[in-house]
């Protein structure tokens, strides 16, 4: 689409014409100019010739100088006028600072938000908000009257600190869940850009799509390159809609798989960041094979011959999170959660009413410390007082320290023992028991053994398999990392 800017005319000459061919197409057929102002004149899509037409027509109009008032109306294309996005796909305009140093920051489309978002207060933080208001009032009073209120201010400030410390050191699971879902919680890219020295984002699943809900790329930490993959939430509503609220479609999981296989091929250890309410539940997603994409990721991740560390930075929603979360070490931020079904869904199904969500949150044991007790999570990363959203930089630095500590351990392990350790980590998760003297009534619908004794004893067969397996597990888990 060509654009022509007309200079301001005081006289009222305008051209009535249709610059489109007589056969009206669906796209904009009438181009117009409103008189008297600067207007941007768009020619139709039909090509260059229209410019020439336009110029000749205008020339004619000027020559004629008659009272030919032809009003040309601009008919907007269906869907509105499309302003080309200057930042898409890459920033079009280079500024001088883009030319100094590394070119990588120029390619990174993820920039700090132009406006600082309004601070959002969670329901349990209301006492803090009250004290903050009081401090504000006292300060205003001090300013307006000139009297000295410093003692009261100090008291109030101390009280604020105390209440804050009290609140945040004793968070209940429901409060941790609301912190994990906080709208200002730092996202995957926020963390990545803080902890990496260099960052190059890579795109696409090479099969027709580039899911915005999953971020992938290569970065350098402490002189070593890693592959980063994670769910990306938006920092405001507009971004959230673009990122689909970090709910990936099958295309996203296939993109993640391609990146992980690429990383294993070249030797990049993989760092994944989980922050999703779950996989996207939509018609297209189901048709493209959402279940299959997740299943394939689960299986393939156990064959990648590079260390994988997963960090849950927000909420970990069931299969959608596990599809990039089959790892050698699982880390969680202190206030993050990892659940098999969201507390709301669980409440609706088991308690039959959505209002029971707090009870479900307590019962399902979804917080980091509880999961560490169940031996699912290997380490919990402390967050600064006030949650990650109050001090993103410290959170990212804490995360970097813990990740690198575990990474240094894993880098010393050879590929085969590494894979065996990964199997062993998940093999031991399970709360089952061998029932002693199970009431035969409880087994009446099981098909009993009817094979002749020559076929072998099932107990012996399975136990020998299990012995073998236990031996392998023991060997894998006690394998000296320095070997």
């Amino acid at each position: 689409m060509a654009a022509v800017i007309l200079p301001q005319h005081s006289s009222l000459y305008s051209v009535k014409t249709s610059l489109a061919p007589p056969a009206r197409t669906a796209s904009s057929s009438k181009i117009g100019v409103e008189t008297g102002d600067f207007t941007i004149l768009h020619s139709s899509k039909n090509g260059v010739t229209n410019d020439v037409q336009l110029r000749s027509i205008l020339r004619n109009a000027q020559v004629k100088r008659c009272r030919m008032y032809s009003k040309v109306t601009a008919m907007l294309k269906r869907g509105g006028r499309k302003t080309p996005d200057k930042e898409y796909p890459w920033p079009q305009k280079m500024r001088p600072q883009d030319l100094i140093g590394s070119p990588l920051p120029f390619l990174s489309r993820f920039k700090p938000l132009p406006q600082k978002s309004k601070p959002v207060h969670l329901p349990f933080e209301l006492p803090l908000v009250d004290i903050q208001k009081k401090i504000h009032e006292v300060r205003e009073l001090a300013d307006s009257t000139g009297m000295d209120f410093s003692m009261q201010l100090n008291e109030l400030q101390e009280k604020y600190e105390e209440v804050r410390r009290d609140l945040y050191t004793h968070l209940s699971p429901i409060q941790r869940l609301s912190v994990a879902r906080h709208p200002s919680r730092p996202t995957c890219l926020d963390h990545i850009l803080t902890i990496t020295d260099k960052w190059l984002e890579l795109h696409g699943d090479r099969a027709g799509f580039d899911d915005p809900a999953i971020i992938s790329g290569i970065g350098k930490i402490d002189g070593m390159s890693f592959m980063f993959i994670g769910h990306q939430k938006g920092r405001n509503t507009k971004e959230n809609i673009y990122r689909n609220f970090a709910m990936p479609t099958p295309n996203g999981y296939r993109k993640a798989l391609r990146m992980m296989q690429h990383a294993a091929h070249h030797g990049f250890p993989i760092l994944t960041f989980v922050d999703t309410p779950g996989a996207y539940a939509g018609i297209q997603a189901e048709e493209r094979g959402q279940g299959e994409a997740i299943a394939r990721n689960l299986r393939e991740m156990f064959g990648l011959r590079v260390p994988i560390i997963t960090t849950v930075i927000g909420e970990g929603g069931s299969g959608g999170a596990l599809a990039i979360g089959c790892c050698d070490k699982m880390l969680m931020l202190e206030n993050s959660v990892y659940y098999v079904a969201s507390p709301e869904a669980c409440a609706a199904i088991l308690w039959k009413k959505a209002a029971a969500a707090p009870k479900a949150t307590e019962a399902m044991r979804i917080t980091a410390h509880e999961l560490m007790k169940m031996d699912i999570v290997d380490d919990v990363i402390p967050e600064p007082l006030g949650g990650a959203h109050s001090d993103p930089f410290t959170t990212s630095m804490n995360m970097k320290k813990v990740i690198m500590k575990h990474m240094h351990e894993l880098l010393k392990v050879d590929p085969e023992p590494l894979l065996e350790r990964r199997f062993a980590k998940f093999r031991k998760i399970g709360a089952h028991q061998e029932a002693v003297n199970l009431d035969p009534r409880m087994k009446r619908k099981m098909k009993p053994r009817d094979a002749p004794p020559e076929m072998g004893e099932p107990k012996l067969l399975t136990s020998s398999v299990r012995e073998n397996l236990e031996f392998n597990l023991k060997a894998a888990s006690t394998a000296n990392p320095s070997e």
Binding site: R365, M442, M446, D450
Partner: protein
């Protein structure tokens, strides 16, 4: 109106419409395994109440009640047996036990079955029927998906053995997203409901009604997610033909 006796004679398939009604696991194993060749595995493995979960009823009580009602200790039966002369390792899930939900015991039994099949180089057949992961066991049941997939990785990718998954009515949630869709050959029964997210969840997310027949086996077949849709009467024969085809590969040197 379908008489139970006639229906069971016909393998629970309605003659008129060809609708496959749901079958419990015993009824599936009986006809598929040659007589006097069945050895069950892990009959006594049951779940533990790891979270001390209590919604309207404690998880322990729910387990005991389901066990008494259905006569099964857990939602899956595993074992080995001959089928048309080939020794196979089938695992059959049962929807009647707590909606076929996949908990620790189901995960453990299936993983042990896969490990056994790996050791003895047997073809694996898993019949899936599940409502998803067992919420009463929390994240532990989520990790069962990863556990089974890791065992399948060793079985399929490293040992290159054959795994056939049979998806029946209904197969949803965690099972579809782990071993259900990982078969070398995926067979579905006619009009089986196979989904990842349930119909209600999709309707709530999108705010619009879902088209009829959207997540049925036929629709998945059109979208290229299944290999075969096989009527119930033919399953045994088809399985033995498939294992015959796979065992007659001439180029084993790869």
């Amino acid at each position: 109106m379908l008489h139970i006796k006639f229906s069971k004679q016909n393998k629970s398939v309605c003659e008129e419409r060809g609708n496959h009604l749901s079958m419990d696991s015993m009824e599936r194993i009986e006809p598929s395994i040659d007589p006097n060749t069945w050895i069950p595995l892990d009959e006594d493995t049951i779940s533990k109440d790891v979270l001390s979960f209590c919604d309207e009823e404690s998880y322990e009580n729910r387990l005991i009640r389901s066990q008494e009602k259905t006569g099964l200790p857990e939602a899956v039966q595993t074992g080995i047996g001959y089928s048309n002369g080939t020794l196979i390792a089938p695992g059959v899930m049962d929807f009647q036990f707590m909606g076929g939900s996949m908990g620790s015991a189901v995960g453990e039994k299936i993983t042990r079955l896969i490990e056994y099949a790996t050791q003895k180089l047997l073809p694996l057949v898993l019949v899936c029927a599940s409502g998803g992961a067992r919420m009463q066991e929390g994240t532990v049941s989520l990790m069962q998906m990863a556990k089974i997939s890791s065992a399948l990785h060793y079985y399929q990718v490293q040992k290159k053995l054959l795994y056939i998954s049979i998806l029946t009515y209904p197969t949803t949630g965690g099972v579809t997203a782990s071993f259900g869709m990982l078969g070398d050959i995926i067979i579905a029964e006619s009009k089986a409901y196979i989904a990842f997210a349930g119909k209600r969840v999709i309707e709530e997310t999108l705010g619009q009604k879902v088209p009829d027949g959207f997540q049925l086996a036929e629709a998945l077949f059109e979208n290229g997610l299944l290999d075969l849709i096989v009527p119930r009467i033919l399953i045994k024969g088809v399985l033995s033909e498939i294992s015959d085809l796979y065992s007659s590969v001439p180029y084993k040197k790869n």
